[in-house]
Amino acid sequence: MANLIDRTGVITLNRQIAKDIYKIVLQFDDFPQSIHGAQFAHVKLNDKAHVLRRPFCICDYNIADKTLTMCYAVVGKGTEILSKYPVGEKLKVMLPLGNGFVPDKNVKKIVLLGGGMGSAVLPAISRTNPELEYYTYLGFANKDKVALEEEMRALSKEITVATDDGSYGRKGFVTNVLAEDMERISPDLIFCCGPEVMYKALKKALAPFNVPIIVSLEARMGCGIGACLVCNCKVKRNGEEGYARACIDGPVFNLDEVVL
């Protein structure tokens, strides 16, 4: 019955990789035997002022080495505190949580699409299903924000970076950049993680191509395991609108069922 564990990891790396964006690596003694891409870790901070855990997507992992990599943007006091933790600091982490992304058997060619910090979810997807072919598109506001390009290059057949202002890579919203390449790539599926406005844009930009789009949603969370009902997202299933829990029914949903 009991199959979830709150694990303790030791920080082996915690450094800035782009403007306001950090990469943190934790080493565990006790590590899960399997992880799906797009699952998340619920991280406790080591001070009593912060009672809520922080849900971060699992950016990358190594089951043999028992290591977990996460990337986070410093957006508030909690992430600011996290960014100052030194190597050697211990953190309690619930993982892996959420449904994760499990591609269907008939899917061979996937476009991985990341918007800003959403790109952090992509490496673990490719890591989990290395036999598939990945075309990666990363979009950022500008050159200073570009992150994870090298990591994804190693995990992709092809990679494209776009910036909104054209200061790095191709110019324009990455959703439009992808739309330009869709005919050439002809993927079986799009996996996208980014802000909600990106999902709206994506839906519009890819409407002519009739390809399934899977997204990973972000929400303010409480328990992280489905009990408290605070992270609900609006979905439409069987013609009826209702709430699904991002933490356990998600974070991965079909874009078609998400009410934006």
């Binding site: 009593k48 009672v51 909690g78 303010r220 328990c223 009990a227 408290c228 992270c231």
Partner: protein, 304 residues
């Protein structure tokens, strides 16, 4: 010989640590972390006659040593509960308190009648949810209506002991405890969340969609301790104390102020095994001191 068992209105709890309504679902999720039978009891998510979707998100915001929520009583409705979670919990060696809410007196009576057939050991009457317009809060403010709704539910659900859960957002909580007692409550639990607001200075908007929410967590503990003490001096019925408990020493403080048992809420989010660990630590303390936990209830020594 040491003893950790407590008794509230004839219902036995193997230890005084109960998980608080709304933070623990119906137990299933936390069962994935540990055997919930180690707890003294659980209090279910608030149930209503009809299923409720709850408020739009965001429903949670953090504050210093605390948090605000505005879930808005999302729940599957009492019928679904009786068909599923009630049966799941009935199979467990665990004392179960079913939390019920309504928006009219008729709602409360209807749900109380239905709960007669449930396996729950006790009913907790939520008349203090700050997150829905008609979420019972109207009943929780004035002593007269606290008495009225408690009395109506007591009549409708005569088989089970009734706990009236009190709001701290009132003029005098001791008066409301007295009113619950007059209405026939077998116990009171306190405190529900404190009404509050979290604001984003960048957008100049409240973080919660609902604008306001209920504040909980360690930051409310001093308020809760004083209110438990005030109520302990006002009523004879047992008190279940809650508000910011994160350790066995917090439990002892609440019991010294007059609580016979406690509920652990927000701490479940910080530490998924937190409530169980508190129960274990408390057991160790009681054994080490070879004491009956009941002996410390209401033993607060006031300074002159």
């Amino acid at each position: 010989m040491s003893n950790l068992k407590v008794n509230i209105a004839g219902v036995e709890f193997k230890n005084p640590v109960i998980t608080a309504s709304g933070t623990f679902g119906f137990g299933r999720e936390y069962d994935r972390f540990y055997n919930i039978e180690e707890l003294g009891g659980i209090c279910t998510k608030g149930l209503t006659i009809k299923p409720r979707l709850g408020n739009p998100p965001p429903r949670i915001a953090e504050s210093c040593s605390g948090m605000l929520n505005s879930v808005g009583l999302q729940n599957p409705g009492v019928d679904r509960y009786l068909q599923t979670d009630d049966l799941y919990l009935a199979k467990r060696d665990l004392t179960v308190i079913a939390n019920v809410a309504g928006s009219t007196l008729e709602d409360y009576i209807a749900i109380a009648e239905k709960m007669n057939s449930s396996h729950a050991d006790m009913i907790e009457l939520n008349i203090s949810c700050p997150n829905v317009k008609e979420g019972g809060m109207a009943f929780g403010v004035l002593p007269k209506s606290v008495e009225e709704v408690t009395s109506a539910v007591k009549k409708a659900c005569s088989d089970k002991p009734i706990i009236t859960k009190l709001s701290p957002n009132v003029a005098c909580i001791a008066d409301n405890a007295r009113a619950a007692e007059s209405g026939g409550a077998d116990a009171v639990s306190l405190i529900n969340t404190l009404s509050g607001m979290a604001v984003d200075y960048k957008t100049r908007r409240p973080i919660l969609f609902n604008n306001n929410g209920g504040m909980s967590g360690p930051c409310v503990k001093p308020v809760a301790l004083k209110m438990v003490w005030d109520c302990y001096n006002a009523v004879k019925i047992p008190i279940i104390g809650l508000g910011g408990i994160t350790s066995y020493t917090d439990v002892l403080e609440f019991m010294i102020c007059g609580a016979r048992a406690v509920q652990v809420g927000t701490h479940n989010f910080t530490e998924p095994c937190g409530a169980r660990d508190i129960a274990r630590d408390l057991a160790k303390y009681v054994e080490e001191h070879d004491m009956d936990i009941n002996d410390i209830v209401g033993t607060l020594i006031l300074n002159k």
